[in-house]
Symmetry: C2
């Protein structure tokens, strides 16, 4: 067993999938799920994502790994509240989508004895509830790890944990992390949102035209179904980095738009070829 007791705060898609993965791979003696919604907790228990559930946060006591699956801006106050229950050697981590805001928040009060390492598994979907959790969600996905208050030993242990869940952990600084995800995750999200909203209200035979769309449309816009409150939290915590990529997209969009509007097909061809070369690298 890698850990005796793991506490997961927030058992939605990600928290629930961690629980299922831990139990499938026998990485802990006991997994406790903690949350604010009795209903969600009951669902997690029924799905066997956790061994026990509680609405009481003090139940993190004696856990040697605490995983916070909560919105970014709630992580620092949550950790502050939990401080009295940490034991020596407890590793605290999270799965939030941005890291600088969290670390700046923690820097104000976290004592040197506590091991906090930020985590961000690049897995999940627009389906946020525990019903969609699965034990293999993290297989072959990247998990960014952002050491803050950690030793070589605790970082090594958390890396091993994610490796056992099937993920590929990458150690990175908070600033680099937030820059990276602004490009590969936050930018595509806002573009997909703008795309979906472009066709709202455009109907044919009494139905929105997207009802006649094929797989291309569905794939391109899938992520726009994410919960607005989660994405507001992400955008507000990463506005400056996202701005860099907003400007990059703005330029590329104007280029392709103008080549179409001006029927400059020579330029359009160069743009399409660039994207095809790039996309064949994926």
């Amino acid at each position: 067993m890698l850990f005796k007791k793991i506490a997961i705060i927030g058992v939605g898609l990600i928290g629930g999938s961690i629980g299922l993965a831990v139990k499938k791979r026998k990485l802990a003696d006991r997994v406790i799920g903690i949350g604010r919604s009795e209903l969600s907790l009951q669902k997690a228990l029924k799905k066997k994502a956790v061994d026990e559930i509680s609405l009481d946060k003090s139940k993190v006591k004696n856990a040697d790994l605490i995983i916070l699956a909560a919105p970014v801006h709630k992580i620092p106050p949550l950790i502050k509240e939990l401080l009295p229950y940490f034991k020596k050697g407890t590793i605290i981590t999270d799965v939030g989508s941005t890291k600088q805001e969290i670390i700046e928040g923690l820097d104000k009060f976290l004592s040197p004895g506590v091991s906090f390492i930020g985590g961000h598994p690049l897995a999940g979907s627009e389906k946020n509830s525990v019903e969609f959790a699965n034990a293999d969600l993290f297989e072959k996905s990247i998990c960014f790890l952002v050491p803050f208050k950690s030793t070589q030993k605790t970082l090594k242990k958390l890396k091993k944990f994610w490796e056992k869940l099937g993920a590929c952990p990458i150690v990175i600084s908070a600033e680099e992390h937030d820059f990276l995800v602004a490009g590969i995750s936050h930018l595509p999200h806002i573009v997909a949102v703008a795309l979906v909203n472009s066709l709202a209200g455009v109907n044919w035979r009494g139905k929105n035209i997207t009802e006649f769309a094929g797989q291309g449309w569905k794939d391109t816009t899938r992520i726009s179904g994410g919960l607005p409150e989660i994405w507001m939290d992400i955008f507000s915590s990463n506005a400056d980095k996202l701005k860099i990529f907003v400007k990059k997209f703005d330029k590329q969009w104007k280029d392709i738009r103008d080549s179409l509007l001006k029927k400059d097909f020579k330029k359009l061809k160069i743009i399409l070829e660039k994207a095809q070369r790039k996309s064949s690298d994926f």
Copy 2:
């Protein structure tokens, strides 16, 4: 048997998948694949997508269904070239992505005796070659049918053909078709292209940052890998309809961009909520 002899001109992903589907469902006695590349034809034969192959277009002779899987602007000249080989009752169809240009082209020379019905199965992917063809590609997908020179009998027969391939045929006018696909297919394509090009050249640890991306990025940009020559053909044949949707996206993009740049999170929330509601309808 629905048909005695089917001729497919162009055996790539779509042509090859039609061949496989026809043979799996026993819809024709014989399927002949015709093309310009000996290599592609050999691949199609090896994959058993067709029963025989030829570089000679006159081999469409005696076919009772001829399917043209060629770029849009090549369809009218191809039909003109094939005219001497059509027999009475032959149905000619295509799988091109736009329809008005084809029908305007055909209108100049097609005699009343020939049955042309435009076709457009909303299936396929960015992988264009026959290697990726599969017999179930059209299962549960929409296939638009655009009658031009047809009788009730020939239209009924072609509808039945696509139904047997697993598709859901929808009869539509050329103008409505081109409007619809400008929104649900051509717009997402150019948006995905602009998105991919936005991150070209943005590297981390010597790699393009998209190499660290999760499924969201991959899905959102998958279609940008389509062949530039095919998409040039589509865009040039549908520039006016696409312009309508380019303007719609332009407005939505500016809205979300400005709410982010101005940190107007109240407005941003309304935009995200609209997209989430819309996208939950898909």
